[in-house]
Point group: C2
Chain length 405, copies 2
């Protein structure tokens, strides 16, 4: 007897038949003697359709209203799932993010969970109800609904698991676990049986879509073990946890992430005075622009170029902010390049093996893949390449670091 | 400068183009110097589609979940309308029923508004915002969302107008006012320039779909004048108010209502002991079955038949309740007849003219229309007829009572 938190993504509840399947899975878990809390995403293409509808009304809809609009998608699927469970003879109650006590900041469209007021959840579990929660949403102090950004349902699930001190947090998805790289690019790639929070966080931040980075952070902070698995089978997937024994790792590196949905923004001719870079980055952070790689290079004396990457859909906004601040500080110009991709290798092994960077750069060079920006962290090396060469780069590295079966 | 509450029905916001039209109308009202609160229904067929989806999951979905599901329809249209207003350069904020402070009882699917906590509304008006409220919904004390039943957005609007002590409450609909009877049946029927709360209430209760009966009740209780008008023109519609001067009325009766969506339920052989009828009616009321006409007739000594009408979609549930209670009290059997319609004449003039009933029955008789049940109130006479003869009955009475142009 334990508390199990499960999260089902949009493809798992895409139609009535799939909703019934998910309902049966939840009921099975309940009948095994567990208290079950399920977090659910919007059905299939619902969110995309709502975005399209809003686009027909306004080219720049207010973010508050956009969040209000999008939050309905999860509220539809949660109600239908609760009905499906009821039709199987079990008691279920659906709760919106606000009803589930999920409190966030007020950064609409990418709000962060501040805390979870869990009274209602505990009451419903005491009443022997299965709880279905609308993922991807919460509310501000002023009771306005917010969304957590794409993939935010993962974060809803892990946060709820932490708040309830759950025994298990299962993320059901349309793949059967975490792979060393995208199996659509390298079909014989190895599935990971376990991965550490830090490695998973890097993989997620670097573009692996299987888990939302925030969810991994929350898991790490609160020690929630996350089981990533397929909603279409009963196979064991990948466990994300604190430490992964060496025996569980087969190679020097754990995975290769890539991200085509990335743009490079460069601000040229920035006067090299103390605090300028900080000023630029603060302006971006204030608007919640998620800056990834940051590279500063001095072209001529006292003048720097600062390049960074961010997600493609934030590039235009980032450039606008930089143009404004550029005028203030006397920079030359701002250029966006969306024709790039980011490829990264991740592995805790890097901390004890120094030759990984050189091996990575040689592999790419020998295969005529040109490297643009480079940035590194303790367990990651990222490079940007031409978007056309992204998949080739992933394949070359997967072979070279022996991640294939 | 005043507070104007407007309500736009589903056909007024059926697509993006219509939403833009409504937005322009609201902005015009605001620019004339008013504070505007708009209540909005779900877009076109949204509610029907959600009901269909739920039907594919379960033949009897829990009412709580059904309310949760249906409430998303209005939340979509309110967000889109707020975006549309924003795109026209005016500040707008959308609020769900719960956010607007609309508190209801917990009778899911036909909840009643208990009160409106108007702090948030007043704050948004002070901030010079146009407020868009999702109609048809509120929340219980436990913060669970409820819906007010079909047509409930009218009630939302009039209740909000009462809570804000609004100067004007406009109900925009797809017809241009209240007619003496359905203009689809009698094309040259007269439009009413004004109608009293009591008459409108009877017309609405008796099947005129233009205003929800509860909204008229609320208007009467709080003295909110209601202007029913077309969302497709700027013509004056019909004013619903306390007293209508004789000069504003042209005939003996104000209108003729009809309702085909009605069923007769008869419980035969009820022992005639004190309190039995009350017991039956209480059982129905406990399940929120809306009983309309009630006729009791003694067939043989100490044995009664009790017949009543209710809406068709409640007939099966009503019969089930009666069969259960029938066993307890020793009644014979329960029969449903859905093949009937109700036709009613309404008019305050009835209180001073005694010959209206006889005139009505003669007109119908002379035209070979057979009358089944009869019931009367101070300002109403209702009869049931065969459903096939309903429209003929309306036409005959409209001619006879001189309601046509």
């Amino acid at each position: 007897m334990g508390i199990v938190v499960q999260k089902y993504g949009g493809s798992s509840v895409a139609d009535v038949e799939k909703i019934m399947k998910v309902a049966r899975r939840i009921v099975d878990c309940k009948k095994s003697g567990n208290q079950v809390v399920a977090i659910v995403s919007a059905m299939g293409k619902t969110t995309d359709n709502l975005i399209k509808l809003a686009g027909e009304i306004s080219s720049s809809p207010p973010k508050r209203e956009m969040d209000r609009l999008l939050s309905t998608g999860e509220q539809i699927s949660m109600s239908l799932l609760a009905m499906a469970i009821d039709s199987l003879g079990e008691k279920a109650v659906s709760l919106t993010g606000p009803q589930a006590g999920i409190r966030t900041d007020s950064k609409y469209s990418k709000a962060k969970i501040v805390n979870i007021v869990s009274n209602r959840l505990k009451k419903e579990l005491e009443n022997d109800n299965i709880i279905i929660i609308a993922g991807f949403q919460g509310e501000t102090e002023e009771h306005d609904i917010t969304t957590l950004g794409r993939g935010g349902s993962d974060t809803s699930a892990v946060s709820v698991a932490a708040a309830l001190n759950a025994d298990l947090c299962e993320i059901f998805t349309d793949v059967d676990g975490v792979y060393s790289c995208d199996p659509r690019i390298v079909p014989n790639i190895r599935k990971l049986s376990a991965v550490s929070y830090d490695e998973m966080l890097e993989l997620a931040l670097l573009g692996a879509k299987v888990l939302h980075p925030r969810s991994v952070e929350v898991g790490k902070t609160h020690g929630v073990e996350i089981h990533v698995r397929s909603s279409f089978s009963h196979d064991i997937g990948t466990i994300v946890k604190k430490e992964v024994l060496d025996m569980e790792h087969d190679g020097l590196i754990t995975g290769i992430a890539h991200d085509k949905d990335v743009a490079k923004v460069v601000i040229f001719g920035v006067p090299d005075t103390p605090g300028t870079a900080a000023k630029i980055l603060k302006a971006l952070a204030d608007e919640n622009i998620n800056v990834q790689m940051i590279v500063q290079s001095a072209q001529i004396k006292n003048i720097n170029d600062i390049a960074f990457t961010c997600s493609s859909d934030e590039a235009r906004e980032a450039a606008n902010i930089l143009e404004k601040i550029g005028e203030e500080i006397g920079a030359e110009r701002v250029v966006i390049n969306e024709n790039i991709a980011k490829v990264s290798v991740v592995g805790a092994g890097m901390m004890t093996h120094s030759n990984i960077a050189s091996r990575m750069f040689s592999s790419l060079g020998e295969n005529d893949i040109n490297i643009d920006l480079i940035s590194t962290s303790e367990i990651t090396i990222s490079v940007t390449v031409d978007i056309e060469q992204c998949e080739k780069a992933v394949r070359v590295l997967a072979e070279d670091f022996e991640l294939v079966n």
